[in-house]
């Protein structure tokens, strides 16, 4: 804990702060929105910024600030669910493939390769085409489109770790598979995939917005940035704020997450999860592994 507190001073706050701000806004959305994001007021449609509506109103008289804030919550929630699910699925499948090996590994790697060969969004679109549009089918589709990278990275780390002498030592001492995996391998796997996930979060926010833009994701009256973008298109000429505001929000969030991911990868920020407690020697090695796995994982 003291190590964490000490390291706080060395954190690049200009990179972490925008992401924290986004998360804070999303979590506190119900208390921050001045209006119900879905409340329509036909007496004040398409208004510019004023004291009553800081960012103005849209074509149904809904408060834009409230919709942007509400949209942050929707994006964060959907992104977290997909990321967590893809991470769990990817780590489980990848680790098992690496740990068990043999024919199982070959089959799993082929499956992973098939998923990696196709662009994620194409997979997601195809799956939504099968399941029909809607919030939960978007979540499932994105999870299935996103897990393969994590599986591939996890497998690479597991295979590398298994060759280490201390695994051999643990085996000789009679440790069972579960112990070896959870105590000696999983921390290294997580240290890598969590870093990757932090950079992936931005891409995922964008994918969610893209699907909603196409009318395949979040349904009204839930505010969502991609949906706000497409609905505002018809007003681009006279009320560009309807398009610029959600576009700007989306851009800032994506850029923030990408910067955070980069900072993580370059170790400006201490790794989350078990990576924090690793010894310097092991941390360096994990870093090397990570770099190698990332190169390998690149399609």
């Amino acid at each position: 804990m003291t190590e964490l507190l000490k390291s706080l001073r060395t954190w690049p706050w200009h990179i972490v702060a925008p992401v924290l701000l986004f998360v804070a806004v999303a979590v506190l959305a119900p208390w921050l929105t001045p209006y119900d994001p879905a409340a329509q007021d036909y007496m004040s449609i398409l208004q510019g910024p004023s004291w009553a509506h800081w960012l103005g109103t849209d074509y149904l008289g809904r408060d834009l600030l409230s919709r942007i804030i509400g949209g942050a919550r929707v994006s964060l929630t959907a992104m977290s669910i997909v990321l967590l699910a893809a991470l769990i699925l990817g780590v489980v499948v990848g680790s098992l493939a690496g740990y068990i090996g043999g024919r199982f590994e070959v089959v799993m790697i082929s499956a992973i390769d098939i998923f990696l060969a196709l662009p994620s969004l194409v997979i997601a679109l195809a799956l939504i085409g099968i399941m029909g549009p809607g919030y939960w089918s978007m979540i499932v589709a994105l999870t299935l489109a996103w897990w393969a990278n994590y599986a591939r990275m996890s497998r690479a780390v597991v295979v590398a770790e298994l060759r280490q002498p201390y695994i051999e030592a643990a085996r000789i001492m009679g440790a069972n598979h579960l112990h070896i995996f959870s105590r000696h391998i999983l921390p290294s796997v997580l240290a890598l995939v969590v870093v990757y996930a932090s950079a992936d979060a931005g891409a995922l926010v964008l994918a969610i917005a893209t699907l909603s833009f196409l009318g395949l994701g979040v349904e009204p009256p839930t505010p969502e940035w991609g949906q706000m973008l497409v609905d505002g298109m018809g007003y681009l000429e006279d009320n560009p704020a309807l398009v610029i505001l959600p576009g700007l929000a989306l851009t800032l969030v994506v850029v923030s997450f990408n910067l955070l991911g980069e900072a993580f990868a370059l170790s400006k920020v201490p790794r989350p999860a078990r990576g924090l407690t690793l010894s310097r020697r092991r941390r360096d090695r994990a870093k090397e592994e990570a770099a190698r796995a990332q190169v390998e994982a690149r399609p």
Partner: protein
């Protein structure tokens, strides 16, 4: 390598510029051109193929009978006609002295040849007279008789539509009988046609009144903002229409407020309405729910906010511009209390802002496809909020066109948008296709269908022209209103905009026609 002196370069440039300017000079001197924006390229304009937009055909090809303003039938290639009392024989007297633009005479033989290309063919069985055709015969050069197996109530109206019923020169086909060039008897002749523009020149041999200008250019401009800018810059003279190059109400207001272009808006011929699923186990099978939905909607706010005032709130199935559209019903004002009272009377119980009946919640599935009906999602959002104030939860399900066309015929929805066909197809088109339980309505589905309604619609469609049909039609509208079978919303107005080159603008009879008749340009 030859070196150009500065002088020869200047000379060459100047002469090139002068040469480039010549065609425009010539055009400017007495050659008036009407420039109309079209959404997509005109295509091959084949009368038997469903590729081209219908409007371009109307410049080149004539019908036997024209659909005039307000649904009045006017003579075109047929000077007169009559229908036998049993409705089985149609006799046309054709206009004399008409030639196709390639010089081929138009006579009874040419007309018969044209009709035989589509009448009685399975591809065109959706047209009543084609489905019922028994024989076509000629009587001299101007007599044409069509015999039918059974009476077709809207037979004459069907001869006013665009494709495939208009007339092609018998010489404009290849060895296989396929159309090789769009040669008709109409007021315009196509001289250039590619994917960016179509040029038409006046047909000086045209049998009718000749247009006061010589050229029409149809310019393909797919983007609405680009069309508006083209109009502002004078590169375009006319934009708008449902099918030519749609103009949104918002853009129309913007153009109007700038003062450069003029907007022409007129009562529309189509109704946008909410259809209730005819499925017996749907929540909306309960009339109380339909009453509540009907009373919850603020049609005036919808017309004002989403259509910028370019729409008329409506309670009838058809707007008054459609013949036989029935007595106008008063447009209901929004009444949440009445909506709640209807639900309470229907046995629904309110608790915590939502309704339940026998433990089942009042949740409606609202099928919307922005792709099928642009702008419909915004309208759906508005209706969703209005229903929410009554305590009715509407779950919007936005789908693509293909899914819409699957779910609509299967009645897999509680609420969905419908648009009536409009002139010249109505009232028969919408009533005959979307209100009969035993008719295959195809991917468009049915607005409402019930065994009780079937005989009423059938009787009206078969009723002889005149007061009898009017009464039979009114019986349909009365039944629909008494059973709250549908929820009409607004009739969107027909919107066109024209620039300063246009002196007078005249709205074409239907939105399937291309505007040019009666239009005058500033010389």
């Amino acid at each position: 390598m030859t070196e150009f002196s500065r002088r020869s370069f200047m000379l060459a440039t100047a002469s090139a510029l002068a040469a480039a300017g010549i065609p425009f000079q010539v055009l400017g001197a007495g050659h008036l051109t009407l420039k109309i924006a079209i959404l997509v390229e005109a295509g091959n304009i084949d009368l038997l193929q469903n590729i081209s937009g219908l409007n371009t055909y109307t410049l080149v090809f004539d019908p036997l009978i024209r659909y005039g303003a307000g649904g009045k039938l006017e003579p075109a290639l047929a000077e007169s006609w009559n229908v036998s009392d049993d409705g089985l024989t149609l006799r046309f007297k054709l206009r004399e002295g008409v030639t196709f633009s390639d010089g081929t005479p138009f006579n009874a033989e040419a007309a018969k040849w044209n009709l035989e290309r589509w009448m009685g063919k399975s591809d065109f069985s959706w047209i009543g007279v084609s489905d019922a055709m028994e024989s076509i015969s000629t009587d001299g050069a101007t007599g044409l008789t069509i015999k039918l197996k059974q009476a077709v109530p809207a037979a004459l109206l069907e001869f006013t539509i665009v494709r495939p019923v208009r007339f092609l020169s018998p010489k404009a086909v290849d060895a296989d009988g396929n159309q090789s060039a769009p040669v008709g008897t109409g007021p315009w002749v196509i001289t250039e046609n590619d994917n960016s523009h179509t040029v038409l020149v006046r047909n000086d041999a045209y049998w009718g009144a000749k247009p006061p200008f010589e050229r029409i250019e149809l310019l393909v401009v797919p983007d609405e903002l680009a069309r508006a800018n083209g109009l502002r810059a004078g590169d375009l003279d006319i934009i708008g229409g449902d099918w030519v190059s749609p103009l949104s109400p918002r853009r129309a207001r913007a153009l109007e407020s700038e003062g450069g272009a003029k907007i022409f808006a007129d009562t529309g011929t189509t109704t946008m309405l909410l259809g209730f699923s005819p499925r017996a186990d749907a929540v909306v099978a309960d009339k109380a729910v339909r009453e509540a939905v009907y009373a919850s909607i603020d049609r005036a706010a919808m017309a004002k906010v989403l259509f910028e005032g370019f729409a008329d709130p409506i309670a009838n199935l058809f707007p008054p511009t459609i013949p036989l559209s029935g007595k106008p019903l008063p447009v209901p004002t929004r009444d949440v209390a009445a909506a709640k009272a209807a639900l309470t009377a229907g046995g629904w119980e309110e608790a915590g802002g939502s309704w339940t009946k026998n433990g089942a919640p009042l949740t409606l599935s609202f099928l919307v496809s922005e792709e099928s009906l642009p702008g419909s999602r915004r309208i759906a959002e508005m209706i969703q909020a209005m229903l929410a104030e009554t305590g009715i939860k509407a779950e919007i399900s936005s789908v693509d066109n293909a899914t819409m066309h699957e779910r609509r015929p299967a009645f897999d929805y509680d609420l969905t948008f419908f648009t009536t066909y409009g002139a010249p197809y109505d009232p028969h088109g919408t009533l005959g296709n979307m209100f009969l339980s035993n008719v295959d309505s195809g991917p468009d589905g049915k607005i409402y269908a019930s065994p009780e309604l079937d005989p009423i619609v059938m009787a009206a469609l078969a009723a002889p022209d005149g007061p009898e049909r009017e009464a039979a039609m009114q019986a349909i509208f009365d039944w629909l209103d008494a059973n709250r079978a549908l929820c009409p919303l607004v009739a969107a107005q027909r919107l066109w905009a024209y620039g300063s080159n246009v002196k007078t603008f005249v709205l074409p009879p239907t939105d399937y026609d291309m505007p040019f008749e009666g239009i005058e340009l500033n010389g």
